[in-house]
């Protein structure tokens, strides 16, 4: 096994996913297969190859430092489940 049930639970918690017990079993199996598959790369000699950071062979996409109009308060908030005094409202953060 490349991945344990505990690791799957841990990753699910980090991703804020509430998984059923049976889903955890299924996912553990599937993720194990994925890791198995990716492990094939270890058969290759990658010594001296630069790790690929991007699928497209391109670099330096820039924009100039020029202000573009923002979309405006109303449109920014229009999809918010809750808003108040120009702000998004989220469940109270307790520190």
């Amino acid at each position: 096994m490349k991945i344990t049930r505990e690791e799957v639970e841990h990753v699910a918690r980090l991703s804020r996913l509430a998984l059923e017990e049976t889903e955890i079993d299924t996912l553990t199996g599937q993720m194990d297969q994925l890791l198995d598959y990716v492990e094939k790369l270890n058969d290759l000699d990658t010594e001296g190859s630069v790790p690929t950071a991007h699928a497209v062979p391109m670099e330096n996409a820039f924009r100039a430092d020029e202000i573009k109009p923002s979309i405006g308060l109303e449109r920014a908030l229009q999809n918010a489940p809750q808003s108040e005094e120009s702000c998004f409202v989220v469940p109270k953060i307790i520190e």
Binding site: H54, E59, N60, D65
Partner: protein, 478 residues
């Protein structure tokens, strides 16, 4: 301070850049605007929106790297730092992890007895800021995303500092550098320069580092010092009692001078960084680096050295004049017009700074330009006015923006260097103070000052004091 333990401090500083727009979108970065008015699909983290890198941010990062003796990476990439918090709409922060833009630098800080100590800079990387959480609403916490996606440089030091004082020296120097470079406004209160301190203790002689606590987001040099000192005491007591330091984030409360635990770091550190597929790699070639290097301003420490060597100023003057870029530029412009560096230095450090303080103004807004001040210094130099009158003239120039010559003319402040006129005043004073004059004649030299003072007073400060002195000596020898 506990001497059993060695204090180890590493600092992470977030430098907010003064670009006009955010790092990945064209929204304005202006401070203090109406909540959420400076937002767009990119900085709101709406699905499908794509970030595009602001070239000016790269330019500023290269500047910062070169000014802190870092190596600029020919190729760097952006990464996603994944965590959930309501001020981070995408659920990840775009930052740099592997392959940051610049690494392996250092700064030399001053220590007592004029010693220098080298503090390593691990890396400087580019990233976006999060939004702002406002607490205290009835229904929940409020989120303002104007600050989301504002460009930051995170400057990470090596754990090379051994006291709160060293940490402050390092911070002050870094602050001076980023302000000099024109890449940060340096405003600590508005959060343009924020510091996290990693503090740990270890017994002297132990090579391995102790467990560290991270002090978050402290926004003044004074509080940083207090927070570090408090943390050192806290950990020392804990260790003395046979306890263990827990790796955690602590929040310092400046009002009570006490810090409290915010969250345990163990889970929070699981950020699952990976290269952001929305952004292509960044390639910086030698020509770009060379151009930025050529355009770097002279840095404060170099300036300070030059002022001592070229202008023969005392190190103290050189330090004060070079501390702020605006002041240094003012001073240099003044010396160009009036080639007497020490006199220029005295005036800038004296009258100019006093007036700026009194008027809560800054050098950039100083109404007495180097040209106007040079005009005034010329009139002291050619004895048209005394130093004392010059201060009055300076205040008048400050108020009216008129030239020194205009003020002197209008107010009739021209120094009296006509020996006949001064002698007449002196005779008047001697006649009124015959007793003292006899004492002076008898050898009580201290009284010379009294007579000079009286003549100056009678002339309303306009008599040439050197000439008054000469005339007194002449009278005595008669």
């Amino acid at each position: 301070m506990h001497s059993r333990y060695e204090v180890v401090i590493g600092l992470e500083v977030h430098v907010q850049l003064t670009t006009k727009t955010k790092i990945f979108c064209g929204c304005s970065t202006a401070f203090g605007q109406h909540p959420n008015s400076q937002t767009c699909p990119v900085c709101l983290g709406l699905p499908g929106a794509l970030p595009v890198l602001n070239q000016q941010v790269v330019e500023y990062a290269i500047r910062a790297g070169l000014a802190t003796n870092c190596q600029i990476a020919p190729r760097s990439i952006f990464a996603r730092k994944n965590y959930f918090y309501p001020d981070l709409p995408k659920g990840y922060q775009i930052s740099q992890f592997e392959l940051p833009i610049t690494e392996h630098g250092w700064l030399d800080i001053d220590q007592e007895a004029g010693e220098k100590k080298r503090i390593g800079i691990t890396r400087i990387h580019m990233e976006e800021d999060a939004g702002k959480l406002l607490h205290g609403g009835n229904s929940g916490s409020r989120v303002d995303l104007n600050r989301a996606c504002t460009p930051l440089l995170e400057v990470v030091s090596e754990p090379d500092m051994r006291s709160a004082d060293e940490a402050i020296e390092y911070l002050k120097q870094l602050h001076q550098i980023v302000v000099y470079l024109g890449i940060c406004d340096g405003n600590l209160e508005e959060g343009s320069f924020r510091c996290d301190a990693n503090v740990s203790l270890r017994p002297f002689g132990q090579a391995e580092l102790g467990t560290r606590a991270e002090l978050k987001n402290i926004n003044s040099f004074r509080f940083i010092k207090q927070a570090i000192e408090y943390e050192v005491e806290r950990q020392a007591e804990l260790l003395d009692d046979g306890g263990k330091v827990v790796q955690e984030t602590r929040l310092f409360d400046a009002d009570t001078g006490v810090s409290r635990s915010m969250r345990s770091k163990e889970e929070a550190h699981d950020y699952r960084y990976f290269p952001d597929p929305d952004l292509v790699p960044l390639v910086v070639d030698e020509a770009w680096i060379a151009r930025v290097r050529a355009e770097l301003p002279e840095m404060p420490l170099v300036k300070r050295q030059r002022y001592v060597e070229q202008f023969e100023l005392p190190d103290y003057d050189a330090g004060v004049l070079s501390a702020e870029r605006g002041v240094a530029e003012y001073f240099e412009a003044l010396v160009d017009l009036h080639a007497q560096p020490k006199i220029c230095s005295n005036w800038v450090m004296g009258e100019v700074m006093r007036a700026l303080n009194d008027n809560e103004s800054t050098i950039v807004d100083c109404p007495v330009s180097p040209e106007l001040l040079a005009g005034l210094l010329k009139r002291i130099d050619d004895n048209t006015i005394s130093n004392k009158i010059a201060k009055t003239v300076f205040d008048e120039i400050w108020q009216t923006g008129k030239s020194a010559d205009q003020v002197i003319e209008e107010k009739g402040l021209k120094q009296v260097s006509d020996s006949g006129a001064i002698e007449a005043l002196l005779n008047e004073i001697i006649a009124a103070n015959m007793g003292q004059f006899e004492e002076l004649k008898a050898g009580k030299d201290k009284l010379t000052g009294f007579f000079v003072g009286q003549v100056m007073k009678l002339s309303k400060g306009k008599a040439n004091p050197g000439m008054v002195n000469q005339l007194i000596q002449k009278k005595l020898s008669e």
